[in-house]
Symmetry: C2
């Protein structure tokens, strides 16, 4: 155990350095920090660092410290999904539910149709899915992977550009939130079904439904009391924060134990939290460490599992192109068309399409769960990493081109960089 701390701290220093350097390069060309960190993770893995420096890579990422990276990742994405859950504004559904409905339905239905169409073909290609994955599971998984949006990034872009009150902002936020919630539900069903054992599947589905149902009714009412304490004191005191972190750990433990994933526990707890001082102060106290220290562990853990070399074969290239096109059509084009059909002008519709098309960190979370639970193989994983990076890379330039520069000319847009 003697040298474990030294290995851990050296590894973390390397990860933080890579994430910041690549993030800095990305920001120079107008990309959000998260894109840089996604790419940094891949570069630290067997696709670059591990390929050219196999000895150094094995020394830096030892079996022991990989275990730490795994748990740090789980804690990081769990806390991050908790923070994302707290950002969910249920009022959005009520206030703009009609105008957002068509965009969100388009961004949900089209991906699942495309997923269903692709699945029978993809499942026959070795290395994409696990041999035990059934066609409908493959279809649902592909649908969820295409339907997911970088909701937290989208929320941040809208907030930072001062678009929160605008038609574009409300539309994209509400549609993104509905689609992400739907994609997570579908993933939970896939995981439950994939567990094979029908008893396990029932535990997963019934347990997950019960957990969400209880948390969003009784749990929400009980949590409201914690909110009242925070409002009265004007802050989240240490005891309150410890209680909430304990509830977070229990939620993560429960959802992992019933066979879905720790992130669901964090996410649902976040949604059930009362809004106000409590969410603001918790975000202030948890977000910096989560985003700056823990999430890079996740990006690296994910990157260590990414073997881009697998994709450089003619058959795989074809699959990659098909999935990339399906993803852009299923999300970007579908959402743009739906926004146009409900009367939005072309510029707003294009901006909504670009934002909804961006997958970001959320895609990485979903596909890492798929890989970890054995639903997908390393080939499909690598292809979906590329899809996540490409669609996220596209978002900022398209948004800037079709919407940002015009709005900024009209003085309606902040100058703050996109980060997330």
């Amino acid at each position: 155990m003697q040298h474990l701390p030294a290995s851990f701290f050296l590894q973390m220093a390397a990860i933080l350095l890579a994430c910041r350097v690549v993030g800095w390069v990305g920001r120079k060309i107008g990309q959000p920090q998260v894109v840089g960190e996604m790419i940094a993770g891949v570069l630290l893995g067997p696709s670059l660092f591990g390929y050219f420096f196999p000895t150094q890579s094995a020394q830096l990422f030892t079996a022991d410290t990989r275990g730490m990276l795994f748990i740090g990742s789980q804690l990081g994405v769990g806390l991050y999904m908790f923070l994302v859950g707290m950002e969910f504004k249920t009022e959005l559904f009520r206030s703009r539910v009609r105008s957002a409905a068509s965009v969100s339905i388009a961004g949900m239905v089209v991906p699942f149709i495309l997923g269903a169409l692709l699945a029978p073909w993809l499942i026959k290609i070795p290395g994409l899915f696990s041999p035990t994955t059934k066609v409908y599971e493959a279809g649902l998984f592909m649908g969820a992977a295409i339907a997911i949006t970088a909701f937290p990034m989208l929320a941040r872009i809208i907030y930072e550009r001062g678009l929160s009150g605008t038609s574009l902002g409300t539309l994209a936020l509400a549609a993104g939130a509905i689609d992400d919630a739907a994609a997570w539900c579908v993933l939970a069903i896939v995981l439950a079904s994939f567990s094979g054992d029908s008893k396990m599947a029932i535990i997963a589905i019934a347990g997950g439904t019960l957990f969400a149902g209880l948390m969003l009714t009784v749990g929400k009412k009980l949590l409201a009391k914690l909110g009242t304490i925070a409002e009265r004191e004007g802050k989240v005191n240490p005891t309150l924060m410890a209680i909430i972190l304990m509830l977070f750990c229990l939620s993560a433990w429960f959802t992992d134990t019933i066979g879905i994933h720790t992130v669901f526990g964090g996410f649902i707890l976040g949604i059930a939290m009362p809004r106000g001082v409590i969410t603001q102060d918790l975000t202030k106290k948890l977000e910096p460490f989560t985003v700056i220290f823990l999430l890079p562990m996740f990006f690296t853990y994910s990157g260590l599992n990414t073997r881009l070399a697998v994709v450089f074969q003619p058959s795989m290239m074809l699959v990659a192109i098909a999935i990339l096109v399906a993803s852009m059509v299923g999300k970007g084009v579908a959402c743009w068309a739906a926004a146009r059909l409900t009367g939005e002008d072309n510029r707003t519709a294009l901006a909504v399409g670009a934002l909804m098309n961006s997958r970001g960190l959320m895609e990485l979370i979903i596909i890492n769960i798929g890989l970890q639970k054995g639903v997908i193989g390393s080939g499909l994983f690598a292809i979906l990493v590329i899809m996540a990076v490409v669609t996220t890379l596209m978002a900022s330039p398209i948004f800037e081109y079709v919407y940002g520069r015009h709005a900024r000319k009209a003085g309606a847009l902040g100058l703050g960089g996109i980060d997330g």
Copy 2:
């Protein structure tokens, strides 16, 4: 790997619960939260939970999750020492160096004399020291263990009670800071010497001196630039925070690699940091998660190593009593006497003695390092845990009795509870 996250989150929920419940009981009887957490850690270990529920204990604290606990502990105390380092005010030495000198010298010289006197006796008793520990190493270790003060707790009591500008506050802070710095230096020397291999010892001493020297001169100047950025922006931006966390990891890695300990890296980096917006904002962003989530991991890790049963033998009881008396005389009585001799009134002198006598978390850190590096055995470890808890438990009631209630009557004292 599948069930590792579930075990980790369940373990964390149990730890957070135990720390809060025992902390709450402690606060009810006027004790700071840290005392409750120190005791909670011991109760979770083989002294209570593990003794009465061995099966459940083995299920909750598996070998895998213990590894996580170890690394989480290292990260927690490392970050905590970094925060403590940032609280160090070098001005204190200058402004009150003369009046504080006698108290700090008394609180340093007497413990080391007592350590030297106890060592030849203690080293003969099996289970207290490692067979390879030399008498002078044992003496120095005992001296450091007696000389250490709960500096962060002391600083918080003084700050929360509004005593920062008073004679008592400045005196205790300056003396505590000097003594703690001295105790850490001595510990570094013990570890360097204990490494046996003279080449290792030279690397440790030369490396540690070089590191501290460079960090507090060149490093300090370079870090000042980061401080300027934070002042200009009025906050620590994500890039700045990532750079500082990276430097923290590098410092922790370096000091661990040369054979001293990760905490030195964090602590010295903290001292070298520029003061102002940067330290305030970093503390705001790092302290809650460190203190509320990571430190309980340390208390539990430490508690899992504590076998109080070892102490319940006549020969060990005698050792325990001797060490307890030596600790109180060497620190509490010595500092009280020194304060009296330099003209402080008896009430202030008693309050200084009680505060300086409290060991808190710092003692646990020092003895865990001693145990981990093999300098001391589990018997002495358990005795020193008792010493740390008892001296910390004593501090608040004595302080309240001799100083607090009088000062509060005179309106000079806040009502805020002691925490930390």
